[in-house]
Symmetry: C2
Subunit: 325 residues, 2 copies
């Protein structure tokens, strides 16, 4: 009989602005949570020191560090297979940063890192819409578009951990310029910037009145608000966006055969304005054997909890290790 | 100490014309092999009786039926998850045929069925180019285009076993008519019929002389023969085909991140005429993190052995079961 079962994990979410860390129990209850500004620590060694101290403080104040089994970290451009954050465009640390090994060395327990879409998939599988599903796709719609394929109960990572780059599949050869250096990537139509471009194009090509013409800032949220007020051009922005999304997802689903496609991220808040036209176009193009079988679902985990919960699910999935055993 | 280790399996390949069955040992040696015409048995019960008898005959004449661990079957439209052949367009048996269960009931040992691309992937993994690879894609180029994703050492089948339908992803909305009822599927450009259409279109739109104009039959093989003789228009046929293939595979690889893409099937025999332009277009469109990492490989297993070897690999992978233990 083992009397030292470690019954909780720490989930960490590193975003450009903020690092959030939480103690999570086996049922996905967040026992305690805190955060600090990521950008205050441009030196990654200093960052790891601060993160270690803060995790120790939080856990000692809430049941003890010795109840913690492992730590999971969600970070942009993180690669689960290497444990590194690799050339993150927006984080203060450049190059290849072995974040998992660094934190493990400080804290003496197992640490895993993974990118946002991977972690989101684990979270939805453990605590959200994908609970009980073995094959599904996560689509994270935000500044970019990330995705993760769950294959037979496990995240499909690919040969080097780069799988899921649906945002950088080509929708229109020689189309809109993308930050990745290519042209016509689907995220130049369906992610934040792309939707704004579509709105501006529509406003320029049409003489129709539109609430969007009076917006202080045109962005996915304000466009969706115009939709709610019945603005025809705003509805058309999401219709065009949804058409691209539905087409791309039809091809994605024909390859992957998922039980469901689960949408997360700020742009998913547009809800039916985006997903109805996406669904319609999806049905038009998806392979006939799959047609009608793939559920389109919105994530059921609230935005505030999604990342640390997902990171906690990652923590449960990695091999236990302790310097203190 | 177990003294009754079953050291061999039977691999069966069911094609429209012919059923081939072979005894295969643990190293992929084909110990004995025979075949009979599939279409002689439009009644599936009669077919199963004949197949059972022939397997017993072959095994009794070659070391004994009691050395056989299990049976793997490759069949068009077969679904590994259900064990059924489901609405095969060209086989004599209509509807849903529980082939695995039927043969298991007759022979008293474990039987698995899977479709061509899945079985080919297992064969390449066990005995071919993909040996030692955990993440790769098989592309089978023939009358249609099948594919299979290997994810972390296992075939990705999807929710209902329909994964891998790259042939029916849409390349051009409202493009060429496809047998599946859609338009513009990539296989209407890259599979047998599509290549013939491209050749005929090119011959019609060009005044250039071409050896293809004198062919008794234009097909992928004869077009490739014209390429070998330096025929400019024939080379252009495969260049156009390769461009479509490379574009589609770039998007596929950006999603899946494979170590290699392995080509099999009759059309892959066109070799560099097809794969050089495919590779060039692939590099142009694939996501930058993956660019330069994905190997394009031709299957190393000869056509005569591929299907029964793959079926044998399937047989090794299924759970052992025996009425006679």
């Amino acid at each position: 009989m083992e009397d030292n079962i470690k019954s909780r994990v720490v989930g960490v979410d590193i975003s450009v602005k903020r690092t959030t860390y939480a103690i999570v129990d086996v049922r996905g209850n967040i026992v305690a949570q805190d955060c600090f500004p990521t950008n205050d620590y441009p030196d990654v060694n200093e960052y790891i020191s601060v993160l270690s101290e803060k995790i120790l403080e939080l856990t000692e104040a809430n049941g003890g560090y010795d109840t913690i089994r492992s730590i999971g970290i969600s970070a942009p451009s993180a690669n689960f297979l290497t444990g590194c954050v690799e050339n993150a465009a927006n984080l203060p640390w450049k190059g290849i940063v072995p974040l998992a090994a660094m934190l493990r060395d400080r804290l003496g327990i197992a640490v895993g890192v993974a990118n946002d879409a991977h972690v989101t998939a684990l979270g939805e599988h453990a605590y959200g819409r994908a609970h009980g599903m073995k094959n599904f796709i996560i689509i994270a719609l935000g500044h970019g578009i990330g995705s993760c394929i769950f294959s037979d109960g496990r995240a499909h990572l690919g040969y080097e951990g780069f799988a899921g780059e649906i945002g950088h599949t080509t929708y229109i050869p020689n189309g809109r310029e993308c930050g990745c250096g290519q042209r016509g990537c689907m995220e130049t139509y369906c992610a934040q910037k792309g939707i704004i471009i579509t709105a501006k194009e529509l406003l320029a090509e049409s003489d129709k009145p539109s609430l969007m013409r009076n917006l202080a800032e045109i962005n996915p949220r304000t466009i969706a608000e115009c939709c709610e007020q019945g603005d025809e051009l705003a509805v058309e922005v999401y219709r065009r966006t949804g058409e691209v999304l539905g087409f791309v997802l039809a091809n994605y689903a024909s390859i992957v055969d998922p039980e469901a496609i689960i949408f997360t991220g700020g742009i998913a808040n547009a809800g039916h304005w985006l997903l109805d036209p996406a669904c319609e176009t999806f049905d038009k193009y998806v392979f006939r054997s799959i047609k009608g079988h793939v559920k389109f679902l919105l994530s059921s985990i609230n935005n505030r909890e999604r990342d640390v919960l997902g990171a906690s699910a990652l923590a449960w999935g990695i091999k236990e290790y302790s310097l203190f055993k």
